[in-house]
Symmetry: C2
Subunit: 350 residues, 2 copies
DNA sequence: ATGAAAGCGCTAACAG
DNA sequence: CTGTTAGCGCTTTCAT
């Protein structure tokens, strides 16, 4: 025996399919009495509406999509993603909307994934890992698929955008280090074509007035270690390093310690994203919490509004918070007081 | 103008819908010439088949589901989940199957989620966080929804199951510590109603011959810290602690260090799951890598086979590997040589 | 407040 | 090898 359909329920309740449908959707008034009969019948038959039939008829998937183009290895070590998804699901859980996730390996596969979403898999998508010039922005607009961009997109677009101020915490971190006497503060950034990496790097360059001690990593432990080695080999080595995420910061710390440097006495270290382990390290790692779950909730709520027909709009989320911990809590070593060359700001970061 | 349908493509190519459909599905032979015309027409019209229409007609969603019942905070700090998902997506990417994810907060919501999956959202599900007596096993069997259980389920079931030997690495770890002279080895377990926590705890109890130094945590840093404090306050404190995951191990290490104990000289510490940061800590943390991505691939392949009509079956994945690092690499402190009370094995763990 | 009926866009017999 | 024709199980006008 196969699963019951809406017709079975209608027959059992002595009404038509339309009545059953409306009893559930509330799209038109149904008397309390028949509504009760309908629900009772549905209950007795253990009827659950077919989501594919509903999607086809109503032209709405009751699902939103996320497509990620990432190396699985990087996905696996990402602290942002699961927390973000948790937030997405939190606001999804209240409505009966599902999340469709697709991880792809190539540009072609990514396009197909978005097309499939537009072709009925999902009613809208949230776009992560936003690039400064992101082809997906015009592409999605062309598909007519509701979308919200996560990150401070600077280009032209009519898509909704959930913005975060990544610059403020970087400025605060630099100020915090300056107060302790640091003058040679380095930054190990993430890939600079990401809007958030770029925003952090730009804030850093503006705050310190030079990009001499800026290095571009890729968020992996390996690059954190390598670039720390690079920086510490400098003639005037930095006395403080700001990393664009905690993974790189932790790898960098461990490298520095293996070279006999004490953290924070000889080298101050700060991360970004506030990994759940960071408060438990030795020394505890100064970081910036960015509340990915909250951004997930906000982005999802915004997307649901877009899907419901609202006009796209920008929303700013104030979700960063400094977590000052022991890894930056010592006076800068005496050598830090040496003068540094006059800052020269390059055009790109103005 | 709305998106083109299969009829538009058929008309443009001078064939019928059936031909278009079969040209894509390969469910029956189509001459190369017409196939080419069909593809050309589809291309020109930018036709993408509607997944909801396809799902309804073919009774197949081309999606698999995962429903998770978790506190978002725990999801966010879980190292297993993203890696597992990455593996799932790796094998999904090759076929054109999507992943539908639903995170729920209550038993009722969980049942509804599985029912929705069975009602057309997904063709099958993979079941995580398996409990020793898991209501979902009979429930899913009742729904007739293909499912694969991740973990060594010991009950009766006809569902596929992807098993891992969690006991062997625990035994090896205990042996490794004994070689270094440890006699008081503790274990901070995960919740014992999970099959994998239980398997690890049981292997530990069998290896050390006593459950006097067994504590039940909940995989969070907080519980790792609290239970470490508890163990270290014992009159005959343990000289080594095995934690059921790295998060608890790291929190425990940091607590021990804050109390003036050196790791590994005064206290040896090992984790489980091999978090990506663990090799970068000071000292690097001994752990057990469990290759969640591989298990994701295997479970997904198995599920796809079930969906395709194969008989359910058990598959064993040999995916654990000891990562011996500095946190366990020192001779046990002299005090470890004191005799310990005679082991008494409790019934439950036989 | 309820019924009747026409699709939504595709797949899969059934013919030829 | 290709065309015809029913549905898949809902939603949603249009009636009444």
């Amino acid at each position: 025996m196969s699963r019951p359909t809406i017709s079975d329920v209608a027959r059992a309740a002595g009404v038509t399919k339309a009545t059953v449908s409306h009893a559930y959707s509330g799209h038109r008034p149904i008397s309390a009495a028949t509504k009760a009969r309908v629900f009772a019948a549905a209950d007795a038959l253990r009827w659950v509406p077919s989501s594919s039939a509903r999607a086809l008829a109503a032209r709405r998937a009751n699902a939103i999509g996320v497509v990620l183009r990432r190396d699985p290895a990087i996905l696996a070590s990402d602290t942002f993603f699961p927390a973000f998804i948790a937030g997405v699901e939190q606001t999804l859980a209240e409505r009966e909307v599902a999340l469709v996730l697709q991880v792809v390996g190539s540009r072609g596969a990514e396009e197909r994934a978005y097309q499939a979403m537009a072709a009925g898999r999902a009613d809208g998508v949230v776009v992560l890992d936003l690039h400064r010039a992101d082809w997906r922005v015009p592409f999605l607009a062309g598909l007519g698929l509701p979308a919200v961009l996560l990150g401070a997109y600077e280009g032209e677009t009519r898509l909704s955008c959930v913005r975060t101020d990544d610059a403020a915490p970087v400025r605060d971190l630099v100020a915090h280090l300056r107060e302790r006497g640091h003058t040679r503060i380095a930054h190990v950034a993430g890939p600079l074509d990401y809007v958030h990496s770029y925003a952090r790097a730009r804030a850093y360059v503006r705050a310190v007035g030079s990009r001499a001690l800026l290095r571009e990593g890729d968020f992996t432990a390996g690059s954190g270690r390598a670039l720390t080695a690079d920086l510490l080999a400098l003639r005037d080595r930095p006395t403080a390093i700001l990393f664009a995420n905690d993974t790189m910061a932790i790898a960098g710390t461990s490298y520095a310690q293996s070279r006999g440097l004490r953290v924070p006495e000889d080298l101050a270290v700060a991360g970004f994203d506030d990994d759940h382990l960071s408060a438990h390290l030795s020394p505890p790692l100064t970081s910036v919490s960015t509340d990915p779950a909250r951004r997930g909730r906000v982005a999802t709520a915004r997307l649901l509004a877009d899907v419901a027909g609202d006009d796209p709009r920008d929303v700013a989320v104030d979700c960063t918070a400094l977590r000052l911990r022991a890894s930056t809590d010592a006076p800068a070593p005496a050598t830090a007081r040496r003068t540094t060359p006059a800052p020269e700001l390059e055009e790109e970061f103005r």
